[in-house]
Symmetry: C2
Subunit: 319 residues, 2 copies
Amino acid sequence: MQKLLGKINQRIASLKIPAKPAQLYNPVTYTLSLGGKRMRPLLTLLGYSLFKKNYERALDAAIALEVFHNFTLLHDDIMDNAPLRRGKQTVWQTWGSSTAILSGDAMLILAYELLADYEPVVLKKILPVFNKTALQVCEGQQLDMDFESQKNVSIADYLYMIELKTAVLLGAALKFGAIIAGAKKKDAELLYEFGKNTGIAFQLQDDILDVFGETEKVGKQTGGDIISNKKTFLLLKAFELANKKTTAKLKLLLNEKDEQKKVAGVKEIYHQLDVKKLAEKEMQKFYKKALSSLEKVNADSKKKKVLTDFTEQLMQRQS
Amino acid sequence: MQKLLGKINQRIASLKIPAKPAQLYNPVTYTLSLGGKRMRPLLTLLGYSLFKKNYERALDAAIALEVFHNFTLLHDDIMDNAPLRRGKQTVWQTWGSSTAILSGDAMLILAYELLADYEPVVLKKILPVFNKTALQVCEGQQLDMDFESQKNVSIADYLYMIELKTAVLLGAALKFGAIIAGAKKKDAELLYEFGKNTGIAFQLQDDILDVFGETEKVGKQTGGDIISNKKTFLLLKAFELANKKTTAKLKLLLNEKDEQKKVAGVKEIYHQLDVKKLAEKEMQKFYKKALSSLEKVNADSKKKKVLTDFTEQLMQRQS
């Protein structure tokens, strides 16, 4: 896994990003150098490796997804007014919103440039997957923004939103690997389902860690979702289960200005209603669904184990 | 030409833009319905028609370029803080910046979706052209923004900027038509050069019309470039030719708050230095260069005449 990660970071560092105009391309280089788990490209390479050796062939498609993912972060940070990303200043904070918009646009095009080098038959297969997924990610981000002001958000709405915003890209990453390796259509679809449902599980875990993670391990102050009244699984479930009195208390807490008091108060209600356990159960449900798709994939079980070792490690992560 | 335009608008109206999330896709539909000259798709169809009948085959690629062009306008309007586009409220004004950023992203992806349906061999040829051109347009927009605060902008810098921001897309539009019609590489390149140099001529004419056009015909208040101190060919040429006294006067005018006085003052200097005539000369130089490329294209001269009838009509436009 370390070797794959090395290859990915090496390829990213070797990308021929033009030098000029500096204002346009410096933010691109900056964003890509911030690191991260490189989860999406790893999934592409692991997906490829289920069916074939020499994963180098899938490397550019893998990097395209990482570049795309970083493009979405760059634009999301403008929309969310976020000052920090991976502990560093966000692009719009350093270079201003206009440059951030335009550099993001350039990154999206650069992602397509990485796809364009594939041979015609492969290109014809991966481009529609990329397009569809990219649009879904935009839809997910829009729903996420819509939910901020929307009164009645159901848990089903929320799960659909994270499916679009986060999960489909993990599904596409695995599918990319399968397609480029020449896997059967059915296997590529099963892998997509595995990736998608694993992605939903990951996001539920992110929600849990944001509230219950240890600050040192998560690397940021926990409780951010509570402070910003983000309608996560936990909050929506709490409202679903709360009696009249608790509902009133929860509503009051949403308007609480004292952040420490707010986080402590909401956490207490989460404890009372046991929503952490319910979220973990939901998470496991999606992960199990994911695994049942993977089981059906026609590939060597040892190779599948490499993939599940990776996802399991991510499922048990503390940050 | 009217028939082609009808086909283009019909295809745009028939695009399957999803209905939901409404906040994401309504701005896309809105932007595409604002109209415009549809210059880029027309060029693709005319480029195709030089070599083959049944231009319908080039229609989706033509529309992809129009969708891309409208995406750039949508994002540019956020960056430029522009309240109006084609006499209507800009997307960011109506829906807010966040939605405008995201809807623009979705439009860029929708442009790629229109390309993805081409057969593998054609796709493999048009995708790199699209990617390269799209990146160049971003670079041009960045240079345009850079120039606002840059002190020494030369006329060569300016011409390079408009080549990237405006002209290469017209070149690519014609090249798309040629590629899809199966034209020879050399002819596709010559058409690209024709489109690119015509595009530079068009932009120079836009600069002239912005200052010297009749308000009723241009459809907007003239003098906008002067008011915003835009470093156009006219202004740069004026600074190049002005003596010490006129330079000082021009510099004073750049800081003039009274807009009418400012426009009148700068126009007077333009008259004194005859920069309008020089701009027209430059414009003709690029258009002649364009025509000399077109001459070398191996295609029926009657069909070429259809193309030059169109570009000539645009060259003589008053708005």
